[in-house]
């Protein structure tokens, strides 16, 4: 993520930028509102108390995870075959799902951002539906579409002998279904912010629309695409509902980390905590990678 890219507003600067903003604020306080002077010191109790409870509520579970972590057994836990199997499958399937999301989602985002056709708004809403759809429902829907007796799945099975549910491919499909909308939304936003006149300039130089997209637009929106990909990857990594519904829970084949955590919690809580710590570490890493993009948004 190049901080010098011209495309997404607010990317530049990073934490330093936000720190500068925070320092600058009191100086300009006088011009803002009459209450500006008392703004920092005197947060009213009815707001302060719930806010503190909110912070506690969000952080306490994470803290508990750290407190109860079996630190001594952790190396053993993390090197057990089951953990590695699940972790490997998770990373692999999340990466594959991200690749698939990129391959399909970037062109889709371009279509939504750069073309105008009747029903575009509706299509956009439908495409992003998985963002709000309960993942389990997504899994059921995938079964009905691509399952052995599904609308399309029965033909895949009959004609090509392809079975998707309860396979690793099924895991990838379930994760893609849930994660791709994140990528589409992110890339579409970046595309809308990018200056379409660069594409016109490319056209006057003899570039077809596709060449212009490939050689001009894509490099310009690369930071947005990367952010979308990281977001989609993180979402795919944590996917549970659609995966367990569509792909089941077979160790080594479809049992990803979240599934393994859930299963381990039943009979080996220490293993569940260890696995959770790994996922937490990954999440923190993702957040760190995206900090420029989000932490400065405030």
């Amino acid at each position: 993520m190049s901080p010098s890219s011209p495309v997404p507003a607010g990317v530049e600067g990073g934490p330093a930028g936000s720190a500068r903003g925070r320092r600058a604020r009191p100086a300009g306080g006088g011009r803002e509102r009459p209450t500006g002077g008392g703004r920092r010191a005197g947060a009213p109790l009815p707001l302060l108390l719930p806010a503190l409870v909110g912070i506690l509520f969000l952080l306490l579970p994470l803290l508990a995870l750290l407190i109860r972590a079996p630190w001594r057994d952790l190396p053993d836990q993390l090197t057990s075959a089951q953990v590695w199997q699940a972790l490997r499958l998770s990373l692999l399937s999340a990466t594959a799902a991200t690749a698939l999301s990129l391959a399909l989602g970037v062109p889709l985002a371009w279509l939504l951002a750069r073309t105008d056709f009747p029903g575009r708004g509706l299509l956009r809403a439908l495409v992003t539906l998985p963002l709000v759809l309960p993942p389990v429902v997504g899994g059921v829907a995938l079964l009905l579409a691509l399952g052995r007796n599904g609308v399309v799945g029965q033909w895949l099975d009959a004609w090509f002998g392809i079975t998707l549910p309860f396979t690793t491919t099924g895991v990838v499909l379930a994760e893609t279904f849930v994660a791709m909308p994140f990528l589409v939304i992110s890339v579409e936003g970046t595309l809308r912010a990018a200056d379409p006149r660069y594409e016109e300039a490319a056209a006057t130089l003899g570039a077809s629309r596709f060449t212009a997209f490939r050689r001009v637009t894509l490099p310009l929106i690369a930071p947005g695409v990367l952010a979308g990909a990281v977001l989609a990857w993180a979402r795919a990594l944590g996917e549970f509902g659609a995966t367990i519904t569509f792909a089941g829970n077979f160790p080594g084949r479809t049992q990803t980390m979240p599934l393994a955590v859930y299963l381990a919690l039943q009979n080996d809580p220490a293993a569940a905590i260890a696995l959770s710590l790994v996922l937490l570490a990954v999440s923190v890493a993702v957040l760190a990678a995206l900090r420029d993009r989000w932490l400065t948004a405030s």
């Binding site: 006149r197 300039a201 490319a202 056209a203 006057t204 130089l205 003899g206 060449t211 490099p219 310009l220």
Partner: protein
């Protein structure tokens, strides 16, 4: 796209061009240069501009903001379609371009803010066009390096656009447009993005480049000086229509609309001529001129030709004498420009000293005179 290349090669060799054209047979009508009627209807706005130019000619589309100049440019480049069924046409060297997509047109564009691709070096920006038109990477780069060297940018080949100064960026943009060997070069406000000092320099250089360019160049500007320095011919567009066209000197001498008169700094009046007298429209006074005309006519004179008096001049030989009131004063260097209304609305330039001696203030009544020899009358 293939046709474009063919033309690009032919252009370097007159004989080859002749041959190519002869072989093309009925494809074109043989006429060289640009022949266009650009009709673009958008809501209540209608652009209808006829534009022709010979190869080697530089034409400036001059007009106020919102006149439709940029729309005309976009129509030429293919970025805005001509309105179907509105009678528009667009031919370049006899080849109809109306239905050709922008990437296939032999047209190069220098955009107002250049739109250099920020992720590519100057060299790769210039190589982009040749590359799109089928050259290999190394061929395209070699060609681009040649163009950059020709424009004195060899040492900036590896620089990204944001490291270039305004003048350098403008030259890279020009090199990028020229590297596709266009038969029509379009420049949108080519000097607008530059600061005053760079502008002077770049204007002179751009003039040289355009004079060298062997195909048609059309530039769009709202700056009369840019237009007059850079172009062989001006086409003045107001409200989507051509209001006047001709060589810069002619336009500067004989403006036909208030907008142009303002641009070239002349007082302009419209009237009915009879002998040496032009009776202004709307019951205004008459102006005595040296030219003898009859029928509709324009009278123009520069603000510097106006003399102001605080008292009515006695035994005034000047026939052009009007009682006016000062409504505004503006200083330009050591000159004061007075805006006068009354019998005649007129702009007058005088020295700061005279302005002080006359005690010019808004609201003051003065007498304005202009010698007939200082006026210029021409048929309207």
């Amino acid at each position: 796209m293939r046709k474009t290349e063919g033309q690009g090669e032919a252009e370097t060799d007159g004989f080859a061009e002749e041959t190519a054209r002869a072989c093309e047979g009925g494809a074109g009508d043989g006429s060289e240069g640009l022949d266009a009627r650009l009709v673009v209807v958008r809501g209540s706005f209608r652009l209808d501009v006829t534009l022709t130019a010979r190869p080697g000619e530089v034409v400036a589309l001059l007009g106020p903001n919102g006149a439709g100049k940029t729309t005309a440019l976009r129509a030429l480049a293919g970025l805005a379609p001509l309105s179907p069924g509105a009678g528009g046409r667009l031919r370049l060297d006899g080849v109809p371009l109306e239905r050709m997509p922008p990437e296939s047109r032999p047209v190069g564009v220098v955009f107002q803010d250049y739109l250099l691709f920020p992720h590519l070096t100057a060299l790769d920006n210039v190589a982009f066009g040749p590359r799109c038109r089928g050259a290999s990477r190394s061929e395209a780069r070699a060609e681009a390096a040649e163009w950059l060297a020709r424009l004195g940018l060899a040492e900036h080949a590896g620089a990204r656009p944001r490291r270039l100064s305004g003048g350098q960026a403008q030259r890279v943009a020009l090199a990028r447009a020229l590297a596709t060997r266009p038969r029509l070069l379009l420049l949108d406000e080519p000097l607008a993005a530059l600061d005053a000092r760079t502008r002077l320099e770049v204007r002179a250089e751009l003039r040289r480049r355009l004079a060298e360019f062997e195909a048609v160049a059309v530039l769009v500007t709202h700056d009369p000086l840019d237009a007059m320095v850079l172009a062989d011919r001006l086409v003045v567009v107001e409200d989507g229509r051509v209001v006047q066209e001709g060589p810069p000197a002619d336009i500067a001498r004989r403006p036909r609309t208030d907008y142009i008169a303002r641009l070239v700094g002349l007082n302009l009046y419209r009237g009915e001529a009879e002998g040496h007298t032009v009776r202004l429209l709307g019951g205004g006074p008459s102006i005595t001129t040296t030219e003898e005309l009859s029928g509709p006519a324009f009278v123009a004179f520069p603000p510097g030709a106006v003399t102001l008096h605080s008292e009515r001049p006695v035994g005034a030989s000047a026939r052009n004498l009007w009682r006016c009131e000062v409504t505004g004063l503006e200083t330009h260097a050591d000159q004061v420009r007075a805006d006068l209304t009354g019998e005649l609305r007129v702009l007058a330039d005088l020295t700061t000293l005279s302005a002080a001696q006359l005690d010019l203030r808004p609201g003051v009544t003065v007498w304005a005179t202009v010698k007939a020899t200082q006026t210029h009358a021409y048929p309207g």
